[in-house]
Structures are given as structure tokens and as C-alpha cells.
């Protein structure tokens, strides 16, 4: 490539990066201003550093620590359950390879494409006394993630030779040991994809908690953003501070494990 062409492309990359960076910068500087300065939504730096109070205030009013632990709990429990039930399920579906199991794979594909039925799910959850409970929302996340994540494990297991199973069986290994001791360790790359994809889905999700966990004592982080904005729509400084606080864990994670996030995501999407 010619030199001037390279410089031009570099300039274009920087301008395009700016389209992403400027909104983020606006959020950060305005989160540190007082209420009337932040209302102007300008890109200027804050006049003083008293704006850090915004953060302590948001922590208190929006009950961030509670929402953080609830979101973390829901995400971790759902992801662990998703890994277990999907990996084990895929193991049976792929290794059996019967007509029934191939039919089931078509059901899984339909399940990852088609939308869920919200109102009847609500009715079901209410009848089972699972509405507005953590158990209920975890079960919903397992159900909605089941088809795609299982399919991901199936595509990966196809590449793991059956002779491995046979050799282990001849050595007298039991069925749980066969799966958890011999095959599961080989599935680590898919596990990484499943963790990245499902935890991103769940951590940032709004629609599911909005319908099924809509009670102030169990708000997730996304829900606190929504309701905090509803009550403080003219306090842009606080709204922005709230956005920064909620995004911070994700940003830190991105900085430290960016490589794994990107590779987990691409491997997952490309395989699936």
C-alpha cells in the first residue's frame, strides 16, 4: 500500500472511532458535572471535581449494590446451569444420532429462531408461583438459551472422535466419568463461547426482567437504569453517573479479557 493511502485510511479509522468515542466521552464528562451544567449536554470538562458526589448519590438512591449482586447471581447461576444441561444434552443428542435425535436438532433450530410467547409465559409463571422470583427468571434464561447453546456443543462434539468414548468404555469408565472426566475437558473452547455469549445476553437483558422480575426489591442493573431515568429524567448528571457505574464491570472485563471475549463470540457465532 502507498504511504499516503495508509495515512488516509488511518485518518478514516480515527474519525470512525470518534463516532463511538464521542458519545461515551459525553457521558463521562457530564456525569461529573452539577445538575444545571450537565443539562446542557456539552463536551466541556467539568468546572470542579465535586461531581464525584453524583456517584455516591446514585449508589445510594438507585440501590446499585443490591442490583449488582442480583444481576451477578442471576447471570452466574444461569450460565452454570446452561453449561451443564446443554453440554450433557448435546452429548446424548450427538452420540445417539438416532432419527429422533435428528428431529430434535430441527426443534432446536426452530427454538433459536422463533420468538417466545410472552403473555402465556407470564400466565404459566404466575400459575407456578415463579413470577417475580429469581428461580423463575433463571429457569427462563436456561429455556431461552437451551437451543442455541446445545447446538453449539453438538457442532463441536461432531469433531470429537467416537473412538475416544469407546477406548474409555473398554477401560471400564462409567457414564458420568466418561462425560465429565474425559469429554468435558475437551469442550473448553465451546465452554468459553457459551460463557461469553450467554452472560452477555443475560447481564444486559432488559425485556425478561421487565416482564418477569418487575419488583423494586429484585431490580437488575438494566432495570435500575430504566427506573432511575423515569424518576430523574432531568438530572442528566445522575443518569450518566448511573450509566457509567452499570457499564464499569463490563468495561473492566473487556479491558482485561478482550481477546477471550472476541474469540469466544466469533467462534460461537461462526460454529452456530
Amino acid at each position: 500500500m502507498r504511504k499516503w493511502k495508509k495515512r488516509l485510511l488511518e485518518l478514516i479509522s480515527l474519525v470512525l472511532s470518534g463516532i463511538v468515542a464521542i458519545p461515551l466521552y459525553m457521558v463521562i464528562v457530564n456525569s461529573l458535572k452539577n445538575q444545571s451544567d450537565a443539562a446542557d449536554l456539552k463536551l466541556t470538562l467539568p468546572k470542579d471535581w465535586s461531581g464525584f458526589n453524583n456517584y455516591t448519590e446514585v449508589f445510594r438512591i438507585a440501590r446499585i449494590p443490591q442490583a449488582f449482586w442480583i444481576t451477578l447471581f442471576i447471570t452466574v447461576v444461569s450460565v452454570v446451569l446452561i453449561i451443564i444441561v446443554c453440554a450433557v444434552g448435546a452429548f446424548v443428542i450427538e452420540r445417539r444420532d438416532s432419527r429422533l435425535m435428528r428431529l430434535l436438532q430441527h426443534v432446536l433450530i426452530a427454538g433459536m429462531i422463533l420468538p417466545g410467547s410472552i403473555i402465556t409465559t407470564y400466565y404459566l409463571m404466575q400459575s407456578l408461583h415463579l413470577i417475580r422470583t429469581l428461580t423463575g427468571i433463571v429457569l427462563l434464561y436456561v429455556a431461552t438459551n437451551f437451543p442455541f447453546m446445545t447446538y453449539l456443543y453438538i457442532s463441536f462434539l461432531r469433531g470429537v472422535p467416537k473412538e475416544l468414548d469407546e477406548a474409555a468404555i473398554i477401560d471400564g469408565v462409567g457414564r458420568f466419568k466418561l462425560f465429565f472426566k474425559i469429554l468435558f475437558p475437551l469442550l473448553m473452547p465451546v465452554n468459553a463461547s457459551v460463557v461469553v455469549l450467554s452472560s452477555m445476553n443475560i447481564w444486559n437483558d432488559f425485556q425478561t426482567p421487565f416482564y418477569f422480575l418487575n419488583t423494586a426489591s429484585r431490580f437488575t442493573l438494566s432495570m435500575t437504569i430504566y427506573f432511575f431515568f423515569g424518576q430523574h429524567s432531568s438530572d442528566w448528571n445522575l443518569v450518566f453517573a448511573n450509566i457509567v457505574i452499570v457499564s464499569l464491570p463490563v468495561i473492566l472485563l473487556y479491558i482485561f479479557v478482550q481477546k477471550y471475549i472476541v474469540s469466544g463470540l466469533t467462534a460461537g457465532a461462526v460454529k452456530g
Binding site: S117, A143, F146
Partner: protein
């Protein structure tokens, strides 16, 4: 014998049970309740035939939701694919800015949609929002709009926010595909005197076509099912001008009209089914041809 012992169906049961109870069963009963006058406490007294569906298509505020859903799905898909591909080509070039560029462009994918929606409700504010202020400083005042309050353009503004948030994802997927193209292939094409357009058209594009298809399908499905970005940015307003199918589901649910809400959900189910089958058919034909 071995199969029965080692690959026991019992292992499949937990996941399949949860999936059947909390996904398949509600979808099946949805097709039943969509034809009833189900109220806010989920009680119904009779079957009403197609009345719920008729009211979806007779009330103007609901008809617009279908139109908007299609506009949203088409615009966001086109832009996510075209922009995503262009950005991926740029991100694949060896420049000093490449790493920074990739990280920056991918970043919005990780943010909560709710956070992004609120940031853009500030950026698109008609008088103080950064976008209009920027256009005014460039003396392009005539381009400044009431982005989120003008019924004519609001669905396009919402689509733009979706594009801003998700193009990074299609970029990263395209980039992963571009990186699997062997360097020797490009070098030998260069030796043959192939120009960059021919290289893209006849070498790069055919090789990444599977990922183009994946991206199109993902984006169409996501676009048709959209809820949070619309609900948080506009709540379906002003008036009903930015309603989409999923916000209509919520609106009817909130008003206690669960029969109609379920009917709207069933319509979404059928629309996604038909469109994905169609898109899939078109994409496969292209690959063969």
C-alpha cells in the same frame, strides 16, 4: 446396548424439560389463547375467532407497528451488513490505528441496550443534543431534526441507534472470516495483476459468503424481535409512530388485553417463521448460483 448405558436419555431430560415447559408449552398455548377474550387476570369466557387479529389490523396504531417492524428490520440489516463489511475490511488492514479501531468499534456491543438508549436520547435532543449542535456549527441547520419527536423520522432514528450499537458485532464476525483467507491466495492473485475490486468481488466475497448469510439471518431475526431499544428510546411514541410488534404486545398486556397481546405475539411468531424461511431460501440460491 452401549448406547443405552452410556448415552442415557436421562442426561438429556433436565434441559429438554426446562425448554419444553418454559418455551414450547407457552408457544403452543399462545395459539389457543390468541383466539380468546383473555383479560388481565388471564381469565377468558369464550372464543372470539379472529377478532383479536382483526383489531390488530384495523386500529391504525397497531397497523403501524407491523410496518415499523419491517422498516426497522430491513434498514438495520442492510446497514449492519454493508457497514460491518466495510469496517471489517478497514480493521483487517495493517495500520497503526488498527487495534484501537477494532476495540473502539466493538465496544458498544458490550453495553447495555438501556444505557445506549438513554445516551442517545441525550445526543438526539432537538435543541441541546450533540448531533444538532454539531450540524449547526457546520451551518447545516437544515439537516437538524427533531430526531425522536418527529413522527415521520422517529423509526429511522431508532434504527440508527440499533446500527450504532450492533455494527461492531457484524464487523468482528466478518473480520474473523477475513482472517481465515489464506495470504498466499491474495498474493498469487496480486501477481496475476488482479485489482482490489476484482479481488474483493471474486475472491474475498465468495469466501466469506457463509458469514454474510449468518449475519443477515441474525440481524433479520434481531430486527423483527426488537423491543428494548424502541421501548427505552421512545416508548413507541410520539403517539404511536414508533410502535413495533413487541411494544404492541406490551401495550396490550399493560392494558389488560391479553387476548390481543397474545395474538400480536402469534403474528410475530408467524412473521419471523415466514421471513426466515424466505431469506434462507434466497441466500441458499445465491450460494448455488
Amino acid at each position: 446396548m452401549i448406547k443405552k448405558m452410556y448415552y442415557s436419555y436421562w442426561l438429556l431430560l433436565p434441559g429438554l424439560l426446562i425448554f419444553s415447559v418454559f418455551f414450547i408449552y407457552p408457544n403452543l398455548t399462545g395459539f389457543l389463547y390468541a383466539f380468546t377474550n383473555m383479560d388481565e387476570s388471564f381469565k377468558y369466557t369464550r372464543f372470539v375467532g379472529f377478532d383479536n387479529f382483526k383489531s390488530l389490523f384495523q386500529e391504525d396504531d397497531q397497523v403501524i407497528a407491523f410496518k415499523n417492524t419491517f422498516i426497522f428490520a430491513i434498514i438495520t440489516t442492510v446497514f449492519k451488513i454493508v457497514l460491518g463489511l466495510l469496517l471489517a475490511l478497514l480493521a483487517n488492514a495493517k495500520l497503526r490505528t488498527t487495534l484501537f479501531f477494532r476495540s473502539m468499534l466493538f465496544f458498544p456491543v458490550l453495553l447495555s441496550t438501556l444505557a445506549v438508549s438513554l445516551v442517545f436520547s441525550a445526543l438526539l435532543h432537538p435543541s441541546r443534543g450533540l448531533l444538532n449542535v454539531f450540524l449547526e456549527t457546520l451551518h447545516l441547520d437544515m439537516l437538524a431534526q427533531s430526531w425522536l419527536t418527529d413522527p415521520q423520522i422517529v423509526i429511522f432514528s431508532v434504527s440508527f441507534v440499533e446500527i450504532w450499537k450492533w455494527t461492531g458485532l457484524s464487523m468482528i464476525l466478518f473480520l474473523a472470516a477475513l482472517q481465515t483467507i489464506p495470504q498466499e491466495l491474495k498474493e498469487s492473485a496480486m501477481v496475476e495483476g488482479v485489482n482490489s475490486w476484482q479481488m474483493f468481488r471474486h475472491i474475498t466475497l465468495p469466501l466469506i459468503m457463509p458469514i454474510v448469510n449468518t449475519n443477515v439471518i441474525l440481524s433479520v431475526i434481531g430486527g423483527l424481535k426488537v423491543f428494548d431499544i424502541v421501548y427505552a428510546l421512545t416508548g413507541g411514541g410520539p403517539g404511536n409512530s414508533s410502535q413495533v410488534i413487541n411494544t404492541i404486545v406490551f401495550k396490550n398486556f399493560a392494558a389488560g388485553r391479553n387476548g390481543e397481546a397474545t395474538a400480536a405475539n402469534v403474528m410475530l411468531f408467524l412473521i419471523v417463521l415466514v421471513i426466515v424461511l424466505l431469506v434462507n431460501k434466497v441466500l441458499n440460491r445465491k450460494v448455488e448460483g
